[in-house]
């Protein structure tokens, strides 16, 4: 789960990091207690908001209110701005980059730091990025911190403060099951202190049960995706118009790929997983209908889950609730013949191969 910047900063404060004095603003009176000049920052779960006009500096209250009204409601690459953080402008001497992420290859937390802060880290050349891996069984050690901080070439006091910051965010990273903690920029102020000007914190969804102090927001999900998440169904909305239901993530992805081969485009990724529970199948179809696909492509492989049990669930939903678009099915595996009969009986189109099904689905929406 991606946290908004202001919530990430609340966590930073909890771990003793310095952040600029600021708060969420929506009306004139919210500016009381803040000293101008201020920076107004749109709270969106994606990068690049500065370029999109989502960050504005302001010198006085009148100007602030006018700029606030420009930012609130603004559309930043599909995200409507609902919250704006106002912060006192910091006194920047130097900008650094600091992050901790999960390195999938080494299976360890990876610290990345750079003296080129403020830039998108992907545009920083690799030789300018300091990397240090932490053995998760040992945790961060003083030598790890020295390895990072010494290469940043800072003054004595600044090094000391940066070291402390690193220790704190490593603790935050581990305590809160983070996939990413990124501070870009981490600034050195003219009195030698360090301060986090931005925050990017991603908490692992699977660990949310042990972080009950974090209110789940899932700002990055569409309303239907949120609904599905609450029901425990893997459901992703995409740009196309063919709704794909399959069992297993890999198979669902492969089904979407097959559609593209025939110039069709998937509009929904729905993974039934290993379920043959009729109630789950029903919920899945209901969600799919709400996404209004022009065709539904059901692709199942029966292993442990028997094809005919899933087919029975599908038939029950379709005969009872009805469906307003063609459904093309392709069933393979355990008890496939019985399953095909059940689906034919429910009035669905049964294809023989994945290719055949993908081609027919695509043709129905005008692909070939």
């Amino acid at each position: 789960m991606k946290l908004f910047e202001y919530r990430g900063k609340e966590l930073f404060k909890k771990y003793g990091l310095e952040v600029p004095n600021g708060k969420l603003v929506s009306t004139e009176k919210d500016f009381s207690g803040l000293n101008f000049p201020l920076v107004l920052k749109a709270q969106v779960p994606i990068g690049g908001r500065g370029k999109a006009g989502g960050i504005k500096s302001t010198e006085n209250k009148k100007d602030a209110i006018s700029k606030l009204s420009q930012i609130i409601g603004m559309d930043i690459r599909g995200y409507k701005v609902g919250k704006v953080l106002a912060e006192e402008k910091a006194d920047i001497k130097n900008e650094l980059y600091l992050s901790i992420s999960l390195d999938r290859t080494k299976k360890m937390p990876l610290i990345m730091a750079s003296a080129s802060g403020g830039m998108d880290i992907e545009s920083v050349p690799d030789e300018k990025i300091i990397k240090e891996w932490i053995n998760p069984l040992i945790g961060i050690q003083p030598f790890n911190i020295r390895n990072v901080v010494s290469k940043l070439k800072l003054g004595k006091e600044e090094s000391k403060e940066t070291s402390k910051t690193l220790t704190k965010i490593y603790k935050l990273f581990r305590d809160y099951d983070c996939e990413l903690v990124e501070i870009n920029p981490l600034i050195i102020t003219s009195n030698g202190g360090v301060m986090a000007l931005d925050s990017k914190v991603i908490i692992n969804d699977d660990a949310m049960y042990r972080h009950t102090d974090i209110i789940p927001e899932h700002v990055e999900l569409t309303p239907l995706e949120k609904d599905a998440k609450e029901k425990g169904i893997t459901f992703i909305q995409l740009d196309g118009d063919i709704g794909v239901i399959a069992n297993g993530a890999g198979l669902t992805m492969a089904t979407l790929d097959a559609l593209t081969y025939y110039k069709g485009q998937g509009g929904v990724f729905l993974d039934l997983g290993g379920t043959d529970d009729p109630e789950k199948v029903k919920q899945a179809f209901e969600l799919m209908k709400k996404a209004k696909p022009r065709v539904i492509f059901l692709n199942l492989f029966g292993g442990i889950t028997k094809c005919d049990t899933v087919a029975t669930g599908v038939k029950a939903v379709i005969t009872k609730e009805g469906i307003n678009c063609p459904v093309i099915t392709r069933i393979k595996g355990m008890n496939e013949e019985a399953a095909k009969e059940i689906l034919k009986d429910a009035g669905l189109i049964t294809a023989t191969t994945l290719q055949d099904a993908a081609q027919r689905s695509s043709e129905l929406v005008g692909g070939k």
Binding site: L102, R104, T105, K107, M108, P109, E122, N135, P136, L137, R174, D177, E179, N204, D205, D206, A207, Y209, R210, E220, T234, I236, L238, D239, A246, N247, G248, A249, G250, L251, T252, M253, A254, L256, D257, A258, L259, T260, Y261, Q265, G266, F269, D271, G274, F301, G303, I304, K332, G333, M334, T353, L354, Q355
Partner: protein, 288 residues
């Protein structure tokens, strides 16, 4: 031969008395797997399909000589279960459980390495060496003993591919389900090393997907160390960046993990790529 597991593995199931445990113990016994013990705290003395249940792993190991563990416990208890089994001296651990926090996986994957144990998963269907053993939840009916080694990040997609091989009469030496999480124990490279050494494996099939760089790393390894023919399928060519496509590990993050990059790497390593999952069997048939 086969890799990682064979008929000698004595399996202890953690989470043996739950719905999944009871079902899959029967399935495994039917496949020929030596399931010797089950563990569910508080249920010692019970039996599941005549397999004795113990309160803890150490007792199960001491009484039965179990050397392999299958983890079917819920995600919240998985880390504890893996640590317990590693401390009891178990040397092969297969973690089926899905939705385990990444930080937990990171810890037990490192602990397994420290204990010199093989850890497969998490979020995987398990491993099968047809004719010998099956440790996990893979459907036994799809397999046929033979000479193709399969390693995969996916579940159902693997069944689909294995099934199409079997339908063509092409059997498998071992099929390893590596798991769909970002942090997993056994990787493509670990599997490739073993398949290359294994006398019974004549060809290797890899089933990859978007996310991470495991396929790119494998491609590099293949160029340098693998002489056997390798075939691959990559799922997720049309997946948009930033979206987790069902598997926790299937995400294009910060420009990394695209199918295009994986396909390019495999092409460079002269791995034969299939367009559709069911084409793998045709490709293998043409080449061996």
């Amino acid at each position: 031969m086969s890799i990682f597991v064979d008929e000698k593995n004595k399996v202890l199931v953690q989470g043996a008395t739950g719905h999944q445990g009871v079902f899959h113990i029967a399935e495994m016994l039917g496949f020929g797997t030596k399931v010797v013990a089950g563990v569910t705290p508080g249920k010692a003395g019970q039996e599941v399909h005549k397999v004795p249940i113990f309160d803890n792993v150490q007792e199960g190991v001491d009484e039965t000589g179990a050397d392999t563990s299958l983890i079917l416990v819920p995600a919240r208890f998985a880390k504890d279960a893996v640590f317990e089994t590693l401390d009891a001296g178990v040397k092969t651990v297969v973690v089926i459980t899905e939705n385990i926090p990444f930080h937990d996986a990171m810890e037990f994957v490192h602990y397994a390495k420290y204990k010199d144990a093989i850890l497969i998963g998490p979020n995987c269907p398990g491993i099968a060496s047809p004719g010998k053993t099956k440790i996990g939840i893979l459907p036994g009916s799809i397999f046929k003993q033979g000479n193709v080694g399969v390693a995969s990040r996916s579940g159902t997609l693997t069944y689909e591919i294995v099934n199409s091989l079997t339908e063509k009469g092409i059997g498998q030496s071992t099929c390893v389900g590596l798991g769909g999480d970002p942090i997993i124990g056994t990787t493509f490279i670990d599997s490739l090393k073993e398949f290359e050494k294994d006398k019974d494996t004549k060809a290797i099939v890899l089933v990859g997907e978007i996310g991470g760089t495991a396929e790119e790393d494998a491609a590099e390894f293949i160029t340098e160390h693998i002489n056997k023919p390798v075939f691959a399928f990559i799922a997720g060519r049309t997946a948009p960046p930033g979206k987790r496509m069902g598997h926790a590990g299937a995400i294009i993050a910060r420009g990394k993990g695209t199918a295009a990059s994986k396909i390019k790497a495999f092409e460079k390593a002269e791995v034969k790529l299939a367009k559709f999952p069911t084409d793998i069997a045709d490709l293998v048939e043409q080449h061996i």
